[in-house]
Amino acid sequence: MHLSREAIVESLQQIVGPDDVITDEAVLVQSSVDNFRKLQNIFDVHTMPVPAAVVMARSTRQVAEILSFADEHGVNVIPRTGATATEGGLESAVADSVIIDGSAMNQILSIDAYNMQATAQCGVPLQVLEDRAREQGLTTGHSPQSKPVAHMGGLVATRSIGQFSTLYGGIEDMVVGLEAVFPGGQVTRIKNVPRRAAGPDIRHVVIGNEGALCFITEVTVKLFPYFPENNTFLGWTLKDMKTGFEVLREVMVSGYRASVARVYDPGDAGLHFSHFVAPDDCVLLFMAEGAPGIAKATAEGIAAIVAGHPECRKVDSEYISTWFNDLCWDASKIIAEDERIRQTRNVNRTTEISADWSSINEIYQAARARIIEEIPDITMMGGHSSHSYINGTNMYFNYFFNVVGVGPEEETTKYYLPIIGIICEETLKRGGSIVHHHGIGKARTPWVKDEYGSSYYILETLKHAFDPHGIMNKGTIIPK
């Protein structure tokens, strides 16, 4: 028998105390969605079931008790920390869900400069950890645009990737160990070691679970020496994305590890670089960093490769460094963007995929052409590649549309989901992945079985094994 909302709240209050169980209606309504339904949030139109409570967890023990209670009574829980999700992973899919908020678990437990690793509770903002590391001449190497607002637990839970990933890797390459709590209250710690060959790498059961298997309470990540004085920016304009992808491939295959390696199509370049590019220009840019010899050799190696493509025209590096220094989102930018949307009903959305070098340009061209052709009211359709690997790269589709003739609650069904659908279809058709770094959330679950193919068996079995009663973030990753 399901518990009433009042009974759920009362039980939570007994676990964490009344002050840490939030039942304010405005908070609950806001907590029913994430940025996937940002238009609804901006216009204060809400259609998702309202959670029973937001509970502020302050310790691993409290998280364990909450999950034990939820598992026993079949209460759906949604783990969150910084609440910056974009794919519906924080939406309450069923009524009377409980949001477990870990943002109050915000202590940096250690910065170990000798073993080059830092341990932080789940609610530590990445910016705070990064600032503390830099005080010792170190860096996490992780720098998503959400760095000022995202927290460590959420970043690990969503398999975050940062702007310097081509050198430092994604968060999965940085996490050396962690602590997580599973349904029933089982606390597990994965120890911090450089590497081990002791069976499957169980970190990956937790990393990227999106709150659908467990709640991450603590993470240990690698640290790297920080040499900002050696950062070298390089930029070129060129006329087509195909050449841009080809240059990225040559750089990666040649073994040069720029921390930033990107190519922007003309639409996306127009948003960022209109002060120095022509309207039909693509922009290719790199940042080399590290110890002096490494940064110098990397920059020179990349420049030599680009020189083999005479259609690429060099631009003043200062344009690139100035742009890069203003790239991260902070609260003021988010507020300004919300106001722009409120007045214009012009919405910016993004969808990121990955594919091998043979397919990426085809996916980009096909998806872009179909979206312009099939979706109404598009005001900009573009994108860029921003994370490259030896065998391929990603494509970050960046698009804007005017919401016309429908209310905010229908924006996802009229525009956003059909666009995601086109991108996923064109990607799957060519063997790519429908999600490069934002997570599946709830938005991309319609395509998750096609994404996994026969390996969906492993994913589904994990879910059944660790969450047998289905209380963890219902509808996320695994379709409801």
Binding site: D19, F273, H275, T322, W323, D326, Q343, T344, T379, F400
Partner: protein
């Protein structure tokens, strides 16, 4: 009856928000005569001009609902960086787009800028209503709208936040004044200097709109053809940038202590908010 011709003059400025404090300090310390280096930051519409451009579109829409015809024009004193914005405005329904590319930088040269805008409005555009932002970025004098009005011999209203149609040749305008909101009815022609309007964002054209109007031309006008001698007028400008100085905007703060959010909220209320609320 002929259509009302409205002209909006706008400026494309560096995105000063994208400059770091170090950029400002470098400008102050090393190159005061030239000012802060803004070449490398992206360009944006001056925010007050953006309001003016959207208000003009809304006025045109509202006039159309009342059966009054309107023809919108967009104008800028600036280089090629203005072209993407003029293209956007054409796609949004502005029927005329023009720019004057000055042969010298016109920062801190309000009289020259005003001469060009007034010259274009009178001699080329023949507009009866001119909207422009009340000021632009840092270092701007805020005098351009007044100087334009003076050169045209038209009345000028400042801190305009709303414009609505009243009759074919009249508009009703709301302006912020020291102690409230002033609503006046204006017979045209006039200059409206747009202030801190609620409408602050320009609508966005679709790709279809852009395609439909892609062949519309941007006119590039010579200042000399408007009777403006830029070099001569610049030599008579009374304002010269002599230096930059950082203003300390830091404010004292208090970190509120307490064992729980409830306790912290209580301290905040008792020590700060309560007295403010009582004054209301």
């Amino acid at each position: 009856m002929s259509a009302l011709r409205i002209l909006v003059s706008f400026k494309v400025t560096p995105d000063f928000e994208a400059l770091r404090e170090a950029d400002w300090l470098a400008g102050a310390a090393h190159d005061a005569a030239r000012g802060v280096e803004t070449r490398y930051v992206r360009r944006v519409l001056n925010c007050f001009d953006e309001s003016a451009l959207e208000l003009a579109l809304r006025l045109s829409d509202a006039r159309a609902e009342r059966g009054f015809a309107t023809r919108l024009g967009a104008f800028s004193v600036g280089g090629r960086e203005t072209a993407p914005y003029l293209k956007t405005l054409l796609a949004l329904g502005y029927e005329r787009a023009a720019r004057v590319e000055p042969e010298a930088a016109l920062d801190f040269a309000p009289a020259v800028t005003a001469s060009i805008i007034a010259g274009y409005a009178r001699q080329v555009d023949h507009s009866a209503l001119l909207l422009l932002g009340c000021r632009s970025g840092p270092g701007d004098s805020g005098t351009v709208p007044f100087l334009v009005a003076e050169k045209l011999g038209w009345p000028c209203l400042t801190q305009v936040i709303e414009v609505e149609p009243l009759a074919d040749d009249r508009v009703r305008v709301a302006c912020m004044v020291d102690d409230g909101l002033l609503r006046v009815t204006l017979r045209l022609p006039c200059v409206l200097a747009v202030g801190n309007a609620v409408v602050s964002q320009l609508r966005v054209p679709t790709l279809t709109d852009r395609l439909a109007r892609r062949d519309k031309r941007i006119d590039v006008v010579e200042a000399a053809d408007l009777g403006v001698d830029i070099a001569g007028e610049l030599s008579r400008e009374p304002c010269v940038l002599t230096g930059l100085e950082a203003i300390d905007r830091s404010r004292p703060g208090v970190i509120i202590g307490g064992a729980s959010p409830r306790e912290k909220a209580r301290v905040l209320y008792d020590s700060h908010l309560k007295s403010l609320i009582e004054k209301l």
